[in-house]
Amino acid sequence: MTSAPQPLVDARDVNVWFDLPDGRELHAVRGADVRVNSREKLGIVGESGCGKSTLLMALMGLLPATASVSGRIEVMGADLLAGGERAFRAHRWKDLAIVFQGAMNALNPVIRVQRQIVEALELHEVASGMAAVHRASDLVRLVGLPEGVLRKFNHELSGGMRQRVSLAMALACDPRVLLADEPTTALDMMVAAQVLALIDRLTRELDLALVLVTHDLPLVTRTCDRIQVMYAGTVVESGTPADIYHQPQHPYTRLLFAATADVHSDGPDPVTILGAPPRLDQVVPGCAFEPRCPHSQARCATDVPQPQSAGKGRSWACHYPGEST
């Protein structure tokens, strides 16, 4: 028995730059760490454009040719960044499967659902022929859909059904980690709740690890074991939902909660976080949150705060943690 189980995904100090058409670079992910242990459910939250999707793409090695990456990305102990496309491909879907943001178009519109599930099974030699077809129908039943959807095309399915099919497809090869990029934003509240409950159930039943990316704070705190809050390409705080909610260390985390209304209790008015996130195509000299931070001090504008770890996955990157009004 090993004492410290090896993490399934261990990405350290990941940086992603995009080449812009005018020759400049956009630094989309700035030294982010992602570590997912077996059966762990990790949530990543942050405002739009803070690099959540880019980080996931980097983990899958699916970044476009205009991107460049640095850091270290290990999946089940293999250093993928060093191995290149071939190394990534060896782990895609078998170990890391993904449900994309806006999965409305994740299915090929001219190929039937069945074929799209079966082709993944055949590629990874999980099953083939009739066996693959049987497995496909098992999968759609698993996500709560009638078998009939196997013979349907993308456009014949509703948003919720598409999301479920995407999920079934992702589960086809028994992956170890499921990455889900905002799987519910395009959906109605009720359908979103259904899909989320489904993901929750399946990860438990199938012993999956989950990385759930979203900007819905209450949702992610409900679902996940550990939360990473991202801001401008950086992970500014991470910890368990209770840590994050009850003892937020970074002012951004605190403000994010304060900006959210609660239907179940009459709290104070939600607040606005003034200003907008910094442009990622420019160098930010100090703390990226400094211009919007109500507690910023001189040092914040010049020094980049380094992440401070408090063990057990708890960390934050702020010069003046815990400060509050």
Binding site: D13, G31, P64, S68, S70, G71, T234, G275
Partner: protein, 314 residues
């Protein structure tokens, strides 16, 4: 309220250039567009200052029939001993004029029909689109030949014939654009404010399609120049003028090939090809810029690069 003052101080982090300048910038960023614009500009300048460049007349016999290129006549002489360079430059004026004028005519016609159909909708749209359908299926060049034959050859007729018969793609493009613009929230808002049709059409919809109109105009130039060359080649050009199409025709009619006089055939064709190329390059770039589609490809033999350098952390 203290919130508002701070709001101003951190506001507008995204200060981008204004639209026309952005359009220009995005054109400047595309090498193809720059090449296209350069080609067109060169020919326009040539057309303007051309007559100053050669000392000969377009009907002046200056030497042997199909004389080889020489220092005095860098492009040789044609079938009547006229300096080819002089003819080519004279042709530039006529061909460019026909090209641009015809495309303006077609864009005016097509633009009006497209905008009207898209905005008015209902039976107006139906009728105009049936007309467009017909104009699309009717073979354009034969129809142009018939009309040009009936009207008689002249530059103005050529402009009208071409312009009036090739507006269909403009009309369709604009109709589609207007249809989607009409459903746009900004237009809905204008209606909710109480704006009249005129105001909505001319303040909110038409200006939105200027970019597209410009792009189609440039694109249509290439088609117009093509048709000019074709009609002239078929003997329907104005015999009183010199155009590239007529030069090709004359070379063909007057045995330039069997005389080995490549210099009488190659240059006018190259000019047509260059201008057509130039305007399609520029036009396509303008169209892309006016109507940007995501320029991503998820599949490419190249992949992202791995960098050794670390981020600005630690």
């Amino acid at each position: 309220m203290s919130a508002t003052t701070t709001l101003a101080s951190v506001a507008a982090p995204t200060s981008q250039p204004t639209r026309p300048r952005r359009l220009l910038a995005s054109v400047r960023r595309r090498p193809a567009a720059v090449a296209g614009a350069t080609i067109l500009a060169t020919f326009v300048i040539l057309a303007l200052v051309g007559p100053l460049l050669t000392p000969y007349g377009v009907h002046q016999r200056v030497g042997e029939v199909y004389a080889h290129p020489s220092a005095a006549h860098p492009l040789g002489l044609d079938d009547a001993g006229v300096d080819m360079l002089t003819l080519l430059i004279a042709g530039t004026r006529v061909s460019l004029f026909v090209g641009f004028a015809a495309s303006v005519v077609s864009v005016i016609v097509g633009g009006s029909i497209g905008v009207l159909a898209g905005y008015a909708g209902g039976w107006v749209d139906g009728a105009l689109m049936r007309l467009t359908d017909y104009m699309i299926v009717v073979p354009a060049l034969p129809l142009m030949i018939v009309v040009a034959t009936v009207w008689g050859p002249s530059v103005v007729h050529m402009v009208l014939v071409i312009g009036l018969l090739m507006w269909t793609s403009t009309a369709r493009l604009l109709r589609a654009q207007v249809l989607s613009l009409r459903e746009r929230a900004s237009v809905r808002r204008a209606r909710a404010i109480g704006c009249g049709h005129w105001r909505i059409a001319f303040r909110h919809i038409v200006p939105e399609v200027y970019g597209l109109l410009g792009a189609t105009t440039v694109l249509t130039v290439s088609v117009a120049i093509f048709y000019e060359a074709a009609l002239s080649f078929l003997g329907l050009g104005d015999p009183g003028t010199v155009s590239w199409g007529r030069l090709i025709e004359m070379a063909f009619e007057r045995t330039a090939i069997s005389s080995g006089a490549w210099w009488a055939i190659v240059p006018p064709g190259v000019c047509v090809a260059l201008v057509v190329l130039g305007s399609s390059l520029l036009g396509n770039a303008l169209q892309d810029a006016a109507n940007p589609r995501a320029a991503i490809a998820h599949v490419s033999p190249r992949t992202f690069r791995v960098r050794a350098e670390r981020g600005d952390r630690r």
